[in-house]
C-alpha cells in the first residue's frame, strides 16, 4: 500500500513539475527539434494507415447505405466518422505505439547508462531539456497529425467512392465538409492534444524512472505503449460525454 501511495505521489509530482515547466522553462531549439522528430517519425505510418482506414471504412459502409437508398450520404457519414472519432483514435493509437515506445526506450536507456545522471551533475537541468520538450512536442504535434490524418482518410474515402460511383472530387468534398460543424473540428483537435499530452507524460515518466538495466528499458517501452493506449480510450470516452453535453446546449 505504501509503495502504491509513493508511486502515485511520484506520478503527481512528475505531472505537476512538467506542466509547471511548460510555462517557466522554455527550450525553444530542443522543442523545435522534438516537434520535427515527432512529426517525421509518425508521418509515413499515419499517411498509410489513414488512407487505408478511409478506403476500408467507405467500402464497408457503402452496402448498408445502399440498402436504404442513401448512398449519397456516404461522404457525410465518412467525414463525420473520420473527424469525430476515427482520425483522432487511429492517430492517437499509432503515436502511442510509435512515439510512446520510442520515448520510453530512449529515456530509459539514457537513465540506465547514466546519461541523465551525467546531465544532472553538470547542472544542465535534464528534466526541462528531455521531458518537458518531449511532452510539449507530442501535445502540440498530435492535433496537427490528426488534421493531416483526417484529410488523408477523406482522400482515401474519395478514392474508393470515385472508383465505384465515378463521383467528382468537388461534389465529394462539398458533401463531406457541409456535414462537419465547428464543434466537430475543435473537439477533435482538443481531444487529440490531450492524447498527445497523455502519450508524452506516460512515456517520459516510464523512461525517466527506468531502473533494472536493459530489462528495465524494455519494460519502460512496453509500459509507455500499453498505458498510453488505455489513456487514449479513457480520454476518448470522457471527451465524448463532454462533447455530447456541449451539443445539447
Amino acid at each position: 500500500m505504501k509503495k502504491v501511495i509513493t508511486e502515485l505521489a511520484s506520478i503527481a509530482r512528475f505531472v505537476g513539475t512538467t506542466i509547471y515547466n511548460f510555462f517557466t522553462s522554455f527550450e525553444g531549439r530542443e522543442l523545435a527539434r522534438q516537434c520535427y522528430v515527432v512529426g517525421y517519425r509518425s508521418f509515413f505510418l499515419i499517411s498509410f494507415t489513414a488512407f487505408i482506414a478511409g478506403v476500408v471504412f467507405t467500402k464497408q459502409s457503402r452496402p448498408s447505405l445502399a440498402s436504404f437508398g442513401a448512398e449519397s450520404w456516404l461522404p457525410s457519414l465518412v467525414s463525420q466518422a473520420v473527424i469525430r472519432s476515427l482520425g483522432p483514435l487511429i492517430t492517437g493509437l499509432i503515436c502511442a505505439g510509435k512515439l510512446g515506445s520510442n520515448i520510453g526506450a530512449e529515456l530509459g536507456s539514457m537513465r540506465v547508462s547514466e546519461q541523465i545522471d551525467a546531465m544532472e551533475v553538470s547542472g544542465t537541468r535534464p528534466f526541462s531539456y528531455l521531458v518537458v520538450t518531449r511532452v510539449l512536442a507530442t501535445t502540440l504535434m498530435l492535433p496537427l497529425l490528426v488534421v493531416y490524418a483526417d484529410i488523408i482518410a477523406l482522400v482515401g474515402s474519395f478514392f474508393m467512392v470515385s472508383m465505384i460511383n465515378n463521383t467528382g472530387i468537388t461534389l465529394f468534398f462539398n458533401e463531406a465538409i457541409a456535414s462537419i460543424t465547428y464543434v466537430d473540428v475543435f473537439s477533435s483537435i482538443i481531444k487529440s492534444a490531450f492524447f498527445g499530452l497523455a502519450i508524452g507524460l506516460v512515456a517520459c515518466y516510464a523512461g525517466y524512472h527506468t531502473s533494472g538495466g536493459t530489462a528495465g528499458v524494455g519494460r519502460a517501452a512496453n509500459t509507455s505503449v500499453v498505458v498510453s493506449m488505455i489513456f487514449i480510450f479513457v480520454i476518448d470516452l470522457i471527451s465524448l460525454q463532454f462533447i455530447n453535453l456541449f451539443r445539447q446546449l
Partner: protein
C-alpha cells in the same frame, strides 16, 4: 566543526583541516533494509587525490553520488566547497555542480550526439556559449588535453572504452571544475589503457589544480593516482593512509583486498 569522528584503526589520521574542499561527517545511506553507508566520515583537501578503495557493493559509488546530490543521504553532513549539500535547493545545487566534474564508470556520453556536441552541450546549457568559433576553440582545447582531438566528429559508438573514458573526462573538464570525482576510471580497460587513464588523472590535477576523489578497486590505479587512500568496508571507512600504509595493514579485510 565536528571533532568527534571515530576511526577504528590507529593508522587512520583524521585530517580535519581548514583547507578541506569536501567534508563528510557520519554519512549514512540505506536502500530499504540494506545499509550501504554506515557512518562514513572523510575530508578531501585542496589539490589532493583521495582514493577510496573497497570491494564491489561497499557503497563507494553511492558515496560520491551523495556528494553531488544525485542520491539523497539519510543522515550526516556533506559539505562541498563550504556548502551544505543536503540543504541546498535545486538552483543552488546546480550552481555547486558546475564546480564538480563527475566521470562516470560507463563514461555516460550522450550517444545521440557526436563528441563535439557532447562537449558543447554543457557549455551551451550552462555558460550560454553559442559562438561557433569560441565553442570550437574550447572543445578542441579540451580534446587536446586528453589527446583525442581527432575524434571530434565521431559518435560514442565509434569509440573504444578508453577513448570514451577520456572524452568523458574532457566533457567534465570543459566547465573548469574545482573538484573531480572519478567513478571506477579504469574499470573494464586493459592494463595499458588503464595506465594511460591513471596518467591522465594525474595530469588533470597538475594542469587544472583540481582536488579529486577516485573510486576504484584497481590497486594499480590506487597506487598511481592516490596521495591518500581510504578503505571502505561494509559502508564504514575502516582505514586511511598512504598506499604503503594500507598495504602493510594487518586488518583481515584490508589484507585480503591487497593480497588477492
Amino acid at each position: 566543526m565536528n571533532m568527534n569522528v571515530k576511526f577504528p584503526d590507529p593508522l587512520v589520521k583524521p585530517a580535519i583541516d581548514t583547507d578541506a574542499v569536501v567534508r563528510i561527517r557520519h554519512l549514512k545511506k540505506s536502500f530499504g533494509e540494506k545499509k550501504v553507508l554506515n557512518d562514513v566520515s572523510l575530508d578531501l583537501h585542496e589539490r589532493e587525490n583521495l582514493v577510496i578503495i573497497g570491494k564491489s557493493g561497499t557503497g563507494k559509488s553511492v558515496l560520491i553520488k551523495c556528494l553531488v546530490g544525485l542520491i539523497p543521504s539519510d543522515a550526516g553532513e556533506i559539505e562541498v566547497l563550504g556548502k551544505n549539500v543536503p540543504q541546498l535547493n535545486e538552483d543552488e545545487l546546480n550552481e555547486l555542480r558546475l564546480q564538480i566534474g563527475f566521470s562516470f564508470q560507463g563514461s555516460a556520453l550522450y550517444d545521440s550526439m557526436t563528441v563535439r556536441e557532447n562537449l558543447e552541450f554543457p557549455l551551451k546549457r550552462n555558460k550560454g556559449l553559442f559562438d561557433p568559433h569560441e565553442l570550437n576553440h574550447v572543445v578542441m582545447e579540451a580534446l587536446e588535453d586528453v589527446g583525442l582531438a581527432g575524434a571530434v566528429d565521431k559518435f560514442p559508438s565509434e569509440l573504444s572504452g578508453g577513448m570514451k573514458k577520456r572524452i568523458g573526462i574532457a566533457r567534465t573538464l570543459i566547465l573548469k571544475p574545482k573538484i573531480m570525482l572519478y567513478d571506477e576510471p579504469t574499470a573494464g580497460l586493459d592494463p595499458i589503457t588503464s595506465a594511460e587513464i591513471n596518467e591522465l588523472i594525474n595530469e588533470v590535477r597538475h594542469k587544472h589544480h583540481t582536488s579529486s576523489i577516485i573510486i576504484t578497486h584497481d590497486l594499480s590505479c590506487a597506487r598511481t593516482t592516490g596521495d591518500r587512500l581510504i578503505a571502505l568496508v561494509n559502508g564504514v571507512n575502516k582505514l586511511e593512509g598512504t598506499f604503503e600504509e594500507l598495504k602493510a595493514s594487518k586488518d583481515p579485510d584490508i589484507e585480503a583486498f591487497f593480497n588477492y
